[in-house]
Point group: C2
């Protein structure tokens, strides 16, 4: 069986930057996981004493806080500031952008629509920068219930599929006089998605490596499944199952934006030893 890596995969700019920050700061705490990859989080804890608080309620006693790549709600940032804690901002600049857009558009009197998952930390953070009315939607049907004015601004969670964003935009344009569309989907997301799409068209088994809580990784799995039925999402090489590869000719490999190379390498090593 041949093994082929997607032409683009793994770490994006924002994740690389956040890890560099965490490694150089050391002895700090992040509020929520710095990135959506448990293995890498564990490595940072072990080698750089960067631990992960589950929420802002646990900050008492900490000296140095690193803001996760996904950003945190405005109120949580304000809380950190009142406690006199050292704040190191590792929010991805591509996430800071929709935060700023929401703040500015609200000030200018636009009603805000955020395309994304309302339970995702990035979206919670972005939403906190908008004044009411602000709505988070994933599906076109949800728009019908909203009470939006004539002027609407719309942003996207950075890791969404652009085709799905278009559906929301089209429905808004049909109904509202002015729709200010900010395409805040990040290029790295596009590139990993395009490369996964291309590879899954030729592969007969696809392995996508990344956190199961990672939005962009889950999107990659969805795309892979569209073209290659036998597509699997794993967090580490320990989850590989020899049965997946029986009779297969080409195994495609892709990885989410928060998956470090050292995990990808371990996966490739293990797959290459499987006898098919």
């Amino acid at each position: 069986m041949k093994i082929k890596l997607a032409s683009k995969y793994g770490f994006c700019f924002g994740v690389k930057r956040a890890i560099k920050i965490a490694e150089s700061e050391k002895n700090a705490s992040t509020i929520g996981p710095l990135i959506h990859n448990n293995e890498e989080i564990e490595r940072l804890r072990k080698h750089f004493n960067v631990d992960t608080l589950s929420s802002i309620s646990e900050i008492d006693g900490i000296k140095k806080a690193i803001i996760r790549t996904h950003g945190i709600p405005k109120e949580d940032l304000a809380t950190l500031k009142t406690k006199g804690i050292d704040i190191i901002d590792a929010t991805c600049p591509f996430v800071t952008k929709p935060q700023k857009i929401c703040e500015k558009m609200s000030q200018e009197g636009y009603d805000i629509v955020i395309f994304g998952d309302k339970n995702h930390p990035e979206v919670k953070g972005v939403k906190s920068y908008a004044k009411e009315p602000v709505y988070v939607v994933l599906h076109v049907e949800e728009l019908e219930k909203l009470r939006l004015g004539k002027k609407v601004a719309v942003v996207s969670q950075t890791t969404r599929k652009v085709e799905e964003f278009m559906k929301i935009v089209s429905a808004l344009v049909a109904r509202h006089k002015e729709v200010r569309v900010f395409n805040t989907i990040c290029n790295a997301t596009f590139e990993n998605q395009d490369a996964t799409r291309a590879l899954s068209k030729e592969a007969d088994v696809m392995v996508v490596i990344g956190g199961k809580n990672s939005s962009n990784t889950k999107q990659l799995l969805n795309i892979a499944k569209e073209f290659c039925e036998d597509s699997y999402l794993i967090e580490s090489e320990r989850e590989l199952d020899n049965k997946w590869f029986i009779g297969k000719k080409l195994c495609g490999i892709s990885a989410g934006a928060s998956t470090p190379d050292w995990i990808i390498n371990k996966v490739i090593e293990k797959i290459s030893k499987i006898k098919v």
Copy 2:
């Protein structure tokens, strides 16, 4: 054969307003046809001495100029002003809007895309209010050649189909960081289109009445043809052909936004006398 009128048809707000203005002003000239309906233009000439100049080059000697519903280019308006001619503005307020939007967005540094027919007088007028770069496009493929910046504002010719506008918007959103979408398609256009669509699904012959130079009338014909193969565009009852109605059970009738009731009534009268 039964005859059924679309639930919405004919004169829109802007056309009604322009005719009222022309009737009350009298003895004036319009630069280009006031509305896209030759029969109505002829009635205004005969009964109210409102004549139609073919272009701005013919204005010497006139005292009173009425601006057509479609508006005129900014430069032509400036020329009129320098000549000391009385100017009466019958530009449809729904056309004034994209003109103002283009002016403002250009000032704010947006590159402008106008969705419409570059040869249509409304579009020529709207375009004249934007600074370069400004592009008029009808099809998505045309976008590829354009040199647009990060910030793009897009408006539509008032009489276009919203589904087509969406195609342009979607392509822009995929490529540009900020797209400010102004849905300037007018409601009357939507309403006449929806009613024509509904009627053409039940009729076995459709007659659309309106100017052959009228953009919104041509759109109605296209919509009718989608659902009813035997659809015809006529400007007056004189163009009716008995053969169209042989063996038909339901004749649907719709009319463009610049078609006066007196023409529609003549058409209905004549059709009702046809023996099928």
